[in-house]
Amino acid sequence: MTTVQKQELSVFDDHSTLSKALFEQGEHHVLFVTSKLGTSPPWLINALVETQVFGAPLTLNESSSSAANRAHSRLPIANSDKKAAIIASWLHSSDYFHSALGKLKIDQNRYQVHDYLTDFVLKNHDKPASKVLKSLIQELTMQSATDLLILEQPELLMHLLNITSDVLHLDFINPLTRIIPVVVIVSYTESYDNPGADSTERLSPDMIEQIRFLNGCFFKSIVVFGIKPLMTGRAKDITGTLTISRGGASLSHLPINVAENEYLFHTQKDATKLFYR
């Protein structure tokens, strides 16, 4: 693998990761990231935040150390008062993201983390779901100056607040997508294996809701990033595959198209490299 050329991450056909066209006034888009057991997506989340702060996912496209130095010396492209990205996570605490993004030399003032792991249950367990969802939207859009909102595992809200996928979409995802230009939904899809008609076992209601939520996200998104381990199992020099494909939403009104592609990637010691399939 040492002779294989490293690949740069380009999502759109203008060779960009997050094209400027996405952030034009009045435009609202959803990007969907799916991950499976064995291939967590923190590196892709970091790359998207980095793109928003520095203009490109430097650590993915260059060697980690030189990218960090370059990132440090580089001036942020955006207005410094504006948060480049807001991350809301129901699985990890804010320390986790500060640690990971700190390694990329991203200033903590350039992004914001909403920690919905710590004490979320204690604070909201007995409250009505609609009230909780409203307060979440208020918190996330309070600094409406942001252009990129990353939601890590919002599907957990279905179980934490005991709501259906429709309620989650209608009362949470949709209002957010109407306010913020680009919303990235990061979901864990280990249980989603396209159970078709030949499935011998009855699907549980939880499973049906989960599938419904994921399908909804797929149809709303313009790009789907699928992160999966190799079909052949664990390999020493490959962690898994990143598949970039179009989602259900139309891009015909934009001057760009999704550059559908499949990469191999290798994550080791906080550094990820992409390769051609």
Binding site: S40, W43, D95, L122, E190, S191, R202, S204, D206
Partner: protein, 449 residues
């Protein structure tokens, strides 16, 4: 499935006992972690006061200082990420997790397939290890102590079921008994020892001279050096599952919380324990999660189960510099297809391993193969789904059927799995396929001409 040698040691046997490098603030370390300042001091003193680096001392650089004493006997830095790590009580499991233990702030789930209960051994040794660490300081343990155990169970006699520290084989136990009896100051012992010294001493000296052991102080010095190298002497213990920990842990060392109370009650009680034992490492254990005898049926619904796990995860992460959690779950009750319970439960844990006991045919095969070495018979496979910290940063560590486990009186062993060769089968097939060359031309059938 790998075909590695059975004798191969798990992980890297030459794991450095001392961290010679100060953990970088930007490498794999959330700001609240405690980088064990004492180890750095030890190293600097060893290399003669050389300055380690120009970096600020990590403990000073972190905004939130750890409440745990750096000299805690049950904490050591991880060889993989330098995070403070707690022993699980099973040495091989420590190695399997790639950190020589479970890093603080991490949650480990041990799933078990079929109706066996091997995972209870891991739970009990994990719990007993915490109690043993707590008692290292002696009589202070009951009042002050360094570790506290929290068990979310309805089993009130959990404390009485914990295994004791392995004392050695029967012979060793007898020897230690004799030596302790001899060391007691009695008239008979003193008379005997004087007589023995007079009669045996010259003979002993001769033997000692022959083997170069005459200079006792030298050998003691060597031993001391070896023990010095062993920087974490009380980190991990071996437990004898046939014995019991005596005296059984009291309420000063262990807190039992019923997991089937209201959610807010469970979380409030757990928080109260963390508040009460502010300067202790807290080991949280959830044995037999979702066991039908303990949990009502409503807990198999994610809307009941997930808030509980989410709340517990939140508390462990909040106290990430002094808490670890181990839970076990029988995965047979929840199939992977069509049901979302298992994937969502796995999602709530940082590390997941699964035990798959061998079916009867396989056990019989192994018994046949290891007829002369019954202590080599493995009892099942170990699948690794997630490793602490490493999987969370995106590395792929799903290893199915690469390891096997063996449960013995002395310890729960995990080793690389390879299908053993059945010698009897090969010899049989050889004899049927290739008749001996010497007999090729001979036949017992009489031929008529």
């Amino acid at each position: 499935m790998s075909f590695r040698k059975r004798s191969e040691v798990l992980g890297n046997p030459n794991v450095p006992r001392i961290q010679t490098r100060a953990p970088l603030p930007e490498r794999g370390m959330p700001p609240q972690r405690n980088p064990l300042r004492n180890d750095i001091r030890n190293v600097t003193s060893r290399i003669g006061g050389l300055s380690m680096r120009d970096e600020p001392e990590p403990a000073l650089a972190t905004p939130k200082s750890s409440q745990i004493d750096a000299s805690h006997p049950g904490i050591r830095p991880s060889p993989a990420t330098s995070q403070p790590t707690a022993a699980t009580g099973c040495h091989d499991l420590d190695k399997l997790l790639s950190h020589m233990g479970l890093p603080l702030g991490q949650l480990l789930l041990v799933q078990e397939q079929s109706a066996t209960d091997f995972s209870s051994v891991i739970v009990k040794t994990f719990a007993a290890q915490g109690i043993v660490h707590n008692r290292i300081e002696g009589s202070n343990a009951f009042t002050k102590g360094n570790t506290h155990l929290v068990v979310l169970t309805l089993n009130q006699s959990f404390a009485k079921e914990l295994p004791g520290v392995y004392q050695g084989s029967r012979k060793d136990v007898k020897r230690t008994k004799v030596s302790t009896a001899e060391s007691e100051v009695t008239v008979q012992n003193t008379l005997e020892s004087v007589a023995l010294k007079q009669s045996v001493a010259p003979k002993d000296l001769k033997i000692a001279w022959r083997y170069g052991l005459k200079d006792g102080s030298k050998s003691k010095g060597n031993q001391k050096q070896n023990s010095d190298l062993d920087t974490f002497p009380n980190y991990s213990h071996t437990f004898d599952i046939t014995s019991r920990l005596v005296p059984a842990p009291t309420s000063a060392e262990l807190t039992l919380i019923s997991p089937v109370q209201t959610l807010s009650m469970v979380l409030a009680q757990l928080k109260a324990v963390f508040k009460k034992h502010e300067r202790k490492v807290i080991r949280v254990v959830i044995p037999n999660l979702l066991h039908p005898a303990m949990y009502p049926p409503k807990y198999s619904q994610l809307s009941e189960l997930l808030p509980l796990l989410h709340g517990i995860r939140s508390i462990i992460k909040e106290n990430g510099d002094r808490a670890v959690l181990l839970s076990t779950l029988s995965s047979d009750l929840y199939s992977n297809s069509g049901c979302q319970v298992l994937p969502m439960v796995e999602n709530m844990f940082d590390s997941v391993i699964s035990l798959e006991p061998f079916p009867q045919e396989m056990s019989q095969f192994l018994e046949r193969v290891y007829k002369s070495q019954p202590n080599k018979i493995q009892h099942g496979l170990v699948h690794v789904f997630k490793l602490p910290l490493l999987s969370d940063r995106g590395e792929m560590h799903v290893m199915r059927s690469e390891y096997a486990f063996r449960n013995g009186k002395k310890k729960f062993e995990i080793e690389p799995w390879g299908i053993p060769v059945d010698d009897s089968e090969t010899s049989e097939s050889n004899s049927t396929a290739d008749p001996p060359s010497g007999q090729q031309g001979q036949t017992s059938v009489s031929i008529d001409f």
